[in-house]
């Protein structure tokens, strides 16, 4: 145990961890986040707060993390490299820690051309791997990125990163994951899985390099709300949506129910994939379905710490 993170403890104790994503609202209503937190509290081990996902302006991940924490749920704040330089990132890390947040997930961030301010200037002063290094340096070396010492109260985050087994170049994905672990990532969240075969190939490579023993890997799950959503995802950069899933959704009488079924089946399967330490459920704009999935996948009760 390097940090005070509850999440780190659960992983260390060997529990099959369950986290879920909460998308902060496109307004300043903190109660919306708190409501999700209350609904999810007894069903998940940590809530992951997105950072202006797809470059759409939303309530900040740190503020949302604070709301989640106030409801007694462990927040994981996302931090992208798109909107802040190394000064802003480090300042926000200090701020988040001061609010009681103990888990951070470092990621590159979607390009601003996808969002609601496509004419914005992007930053990318650091990339995600350099951000991971920075968070580790603050904690383990008690130094800012510049090398300036932090005399006391250094932020001690449990560090997460993402990896996309469905991106290219495929063979480089595992090597890049290794780079992230090398940089300091302790847990990994994957892009949502629909192509299980490719994910298994990815995990095989992960195990060959022993990476599952160096970081906890959370497999990404997204329940499909409709066949239309499945078709849409086929065209999202970095996703693979196999045709058999689209067909299955199209044939279903109750598409929502079918989406839940697929998610539950996938979780059941993932429980037996060696090296998978848990699941991360990304029910985009459908957070209410998470308790149903967790329950039906036999993941209750959640462990106490």
């Amino acid at each position: 145990m390097i940090t005070e993170s509850r999440l780190e403890k659960l992983f260390a104790e060997g529990h099959f961890v369950v986290t879920a994503e909460i998308g902060p609202p496109k307004n300043s209503n903190g109660e919306a986040v708190r409501k999700h937190a209350r609904n999810l509290k007894n069903y998940i081990d940590g809530a992951n707060l997105t950072d202006n996902q797809t470059a759409v302006v939303r309530l900040s991940s740190i503020a949302a993390g604070f709301h989640v924490l106030s409801e007694g749920l462990d927040p994981i704040i996302q931090m992208t490299c798109r909107d802040r330089n190394r000064i802003g990132l480090q300042s926000d890390l200090l701020g988040a820690y001061s609010l009681g947040i103990r888990n951070v997930l470092a990621l590159t961030g979607d390009h601003q051309s996808f969002g609601n301010h496509p004419t914005a200037k992007n930053v990318y002063d650091l990339d995600s791997i350099q951000l991971i290094q920075t968070i580790k340096k603050l904690r383990d070396e008690k130094q800012f990125l510049s090398g300036e010492p932090i005399k006391e109260h250094e932020p001690r985050f449990f560090i997460g990163a993402v990896e996309n087994p469905f991106g290219d170049p495929f063979e480089f994905r595992v090597l890049r994951l290794e780079k992230k672990i090398e940089a300091g990532a302790q847990f990994i969240q994957t892009q949502c899985i629909f192509d299980m075969e490719r994910f298994e190939r990815f995990m095989e490579m992960v195990r060959e390099r022993g990476l599952h023993e160096r970081a906890y890997i959370l497999a990404g799950i997204t329940p499909l709300k409709s066949a239309k959503a499945a078709k849409y995802m086929k065209n999202v950069a970095g996703m693979i949506m196999p045709d058999h899933i689209i067909e299955r959704m199209e044939k279903a009488e109750d598409q929502k129910e079918e989406g839940v079924k697929i998610a539950v089946e996938m979780i059941e399967h993932l429980k037996n994939v060696k090296g998978v330490a848990g699941v991360h459920i990304m029910a985009i704009a459908w957070e209410d379905i998470v308790p149903v999935i967790v329950e039906r996948a036999g993941l209750l009760p959640r462990p106490e710490v």
Binding site: R86, Q130, G167, K179
Partner: protein, 222 residues
Amino acid sequence: MIVAERKPIEEIIKMVEKHESILVLGCGGCVTVCLAGGEKEAEQLATTLRLYFQKENKPFKTITTTITRQCDPEYVKSVAEEVAKVDAVLSTACGVGVQFMAENYPGKWVYPALNTKFAGANLELGVWGERCGLCGECILHLTGGVCPVIRCSKSLLNGPCGGSQNGKCEVSSEIDCAWQLIYDRLKSLNSLDLILKIQPPKDWSKARDGGPRKVVKEEVRL
């Protein structure tokens, strides 16, 4: 070279309409090569403007000339006589040329006729592509000769983001993913180890983030 593209004619008209005589000044450098502001383009532009103001019944005269380079004091000074004869200068050089003319002719308006785009090269007939972001500290030896600073939409230094698929960038299927190119190239050069090492954060103070830059070569100074 610097690659530029002519501004929409309406925008240029708005710039010059308050004047009665202008010098359309072409440049024989990069913008000649990228067919944006050389002798031919300067003359075409002058003709277009004259015809437009003729139709509008407005007095409007043009002089057109092209100098070897608008980023060189010697050539810029050589058009003093022509500049004196007109109300304003419309430069078809890149942003550097426009500024250099303005610096050399205080009291005279110098307008940009082009949008200066990037440092790049001719890819095929009529197509130019960006290649260098002028970052001040080249790392092409680490990436197999493909620049991640400008050719990756996010300037990533440690490998592709999650949006790279089928060789294309997440931003557009028209853009090749720089990291796929780097990967392929280093693989063919048997040097993938280069990108397995973690690249530290870049020193952006060497780029424009350190403020406007100057290069001084002492041995050639007078």
